[in-house]
């Protein structure tokens, strides 16, 4: 019984009521992941489990048994250099207060994988052909699960666009 978080194995809590979010923040002191609404409405608690972005507030920690969890603390390189998307958020003012930012960035990292895989979204015109490319419309729709009360969405989309452009070059 173990959950691997950013490469380190931790025991699964005995009490099944403990959410993955509470395990991270309250027991492991990984406070980068944020508690927002605690009911699946805001995306602040987004983490990546086995490659897929999920909400840690609605995940029971026991359900992540045997899984690999990646949080905002696990995105930077071993030498401490920021993940390129973290750097892009800084350069494009992708936040003001910063509270939604770890969730935004974890969500966007996994979203870029979904786009590259060709997964469709609600705004995809032709389902059989796949996404309409990395358009702002596709990015906005795919990031709609992450709310930002400061209204930094334009900067967030700009940062993600830069990341996708850089990756394509």
């Amino acid at each position: 019984m173990a959950i691997v978080i950013n490469g380190t194995a931790y025991p699964v809590p005995d009490d099944p009521r403990v959410s993955l979010l509470d395990l991270l923040r309250e027991r492991l002191d990984l406070t980068g992941t944020k508690l927002g609404c605690n009911q699946g409405g805001c995306g602040a608690c987004t983490v990546i489990v086995d490659g897929a972005r999920v909400l840690s507030c609605l995940t029971l920690a026991v359900q992540a048994d045997g899984c690999a969890v990646r949080t905002i603390e696990g995105l930077q390189a071993n030498d401490g250099q920021l993940h390129p998307l973290q750097q892009a958020f800084i350069e494009h003012d992708g936040f003001q207060c910063g509270y939604c930012t770890p969730g935004q960035i974890c969500s966007a990292v996994a979203m870029i994988d979904e786009l590259r895989r060709g997964d469709p979204s609600y705004v995809t015109t032709d389902l059989t052909r796949g996404p309409n490319g990395a358009t702002r419309q596709e990015i906005r729709e795919r990031m709609s699960g992450n709310l930002c009360r400061c209204g930094a969405h334009n900067g967030i989309v700009n940062a993600i666009e830069e990341m996708l452009d850089g990756a394509a070059a």
């Binding site: 009490d15 099944p16 009521r17 959410s19 605690n38 009911q39 699946g40 995306g43 987004t46 897929a52 972005r53 999920v54 909400l55 609605l58 995940t59 029971l60 026991v62 359900q63 048994d65 969500s107 996994a110 979203m111 979904e114 895989r117 060709g118 997964d119 469709p120 979204s121 609600y122 995809t124 389902l127 059989t128 906005r140 729709e141 795919r142 709609s144 699960g145 992450n146």
Partner: protein, 328 residues
């Protein structure tokens, strides 16, 4: 959240035997159930985690698809056969919730999600017959912008929130079940119950029964299909109304048409009257509006949701026009 026992089932047999031994609820992705438990609206003594049961999407001998109940919503939406032959199902799933929630939610859990009626959630301050049978319904004289216009009762006007189920209803999907009494199948259209005198009874599930798969049959109308959702913001919101529809034209006439409406009843509402009127007719926006009107003659509205009648009518006409390639 009240304490509960947690067991993870490795296979169907184990799930059924654990659930039979305890007063348990099955747990899929937890996106609705965990939230309801945190609000103390649900307080099961035990959870049987069925989210790791074998989950596959496979072809059936008649050219259809069988989708395991534990398959994640995002996997169904992205599956090539679903995108090609049942596009309304891909689009309906992609219209629901957020990417994070679709990655968590299972097919079985999506079908079994409970209403998002605010009075159902407000256990501290509101009356709700679904939550506490017999106490009354605060939605009927309350804020009912999101509530039912079809199939409600004096006890409940809550809607079923699923997008996926609206497409499954239009597709005529079958729900396969396994339980202590053996296996059986129920058409999705008969799976969710209208409230009547017992809004607390929401589905045809018997005690201990588990949804194991859903099955789709192929058709030309399923291939030429889509889903449109109308909501208060353009993404990540529940439907005011939604329409799943498929259309087959042969020699300029409507050979087959399937229409289901979401956000209007305690179950996906199949617009059977509209379908019946349109079969054999030539497509056209006026005809679509008239046929939708016939279905809406049976609507019953409340202070906050009378707008849904016109909205459903126009959305049906717009979706059918798109599928028929005529001017909307």
């Amino acid at each position: 959240m009240r304490s509960f026992a947690y067991r993870r089932a490795a296979d169907r047999t184990e799930a059924l035997s654990i659930a039979g031994a305890e007063q348990a609820r099955y747990l899929g992705g937890g996106t609705n159930l965990v939230d309801l438990m945190r609000q103390n609206i649900e307080a099961p003594a035990a959870l049987v985690d069925v989210s790791r049961l074998p989950a596959a999407i496979e072809d059936t001998p008649n050219g259809g698809l069988i989708i395991g109940a534990a398959v994640r919503n995002s996997v169904v939406a992205a599956h090539p056969a679903v995108r090609t032959h049942y596009p309304m199902l891909s689009r309906a799933i992609l219209a629901g919730a957020s990417a994070q929630i679709r990655n968590m939610a299972t097919v079985g859990g999506n079908i079994l999600q409970r209403t998002r009626c605010a009075y159902f959630y407000d256990s501290a301050g509101s009356r709700c017959n679904k939550r506490e049978p017999g106490v009354g319904c605060d939605a009927i004289d309350g804020f009912n912008r999101y509530h039912a216009i079809f199939g409600g009762s004096e006890h409940c006007i809550a809607t079923h929130p699923s997008d996926m189920c609206v497409a499954l209803a239009a597709l005529g999907a079958t729900v396969h079940l396994a339980g202590p009494g053996g296996e059986r199948s129920v058409p999705l259209l008969d799976f969710h119950r209208l409230p009547g005198d017992h809004p607390e009874i929401e589905t045809a599930l018997r005690p201990g029964e588990l949804i194991t798969e859903i099955e789709l049959t192929p058709s030309a109308a399923a291939t030429n299909s889509t889903y449109r959702k109308v909501r208060d913001r353009s993404s990540y919101a529940f439907a005011l109304v939604s329409v799943a529809a498929g259309l087959q034209l042969v020699a300029g006439k409507i050979e087959d048409v399937r229409i289901a409406v979401g956000g209007v009843a305690a179950r996906p509402w199949r617009a059977a009257r509209t379908e019946q009127i349109l079969r054999g007719q030539a497509p056209g926006r006026e005809r679509f509006l008239e046929a939708a009107d016939a279905e809406l003659a049976g609507a019953r509205t409340f202070d906050g949701n009378a707008f849904k009648v016109e909205l459903v009518k126009r959305t049906i006409a717009a979706v059918l026009s798109e599928l028929a390639g005529v001017d909307a």
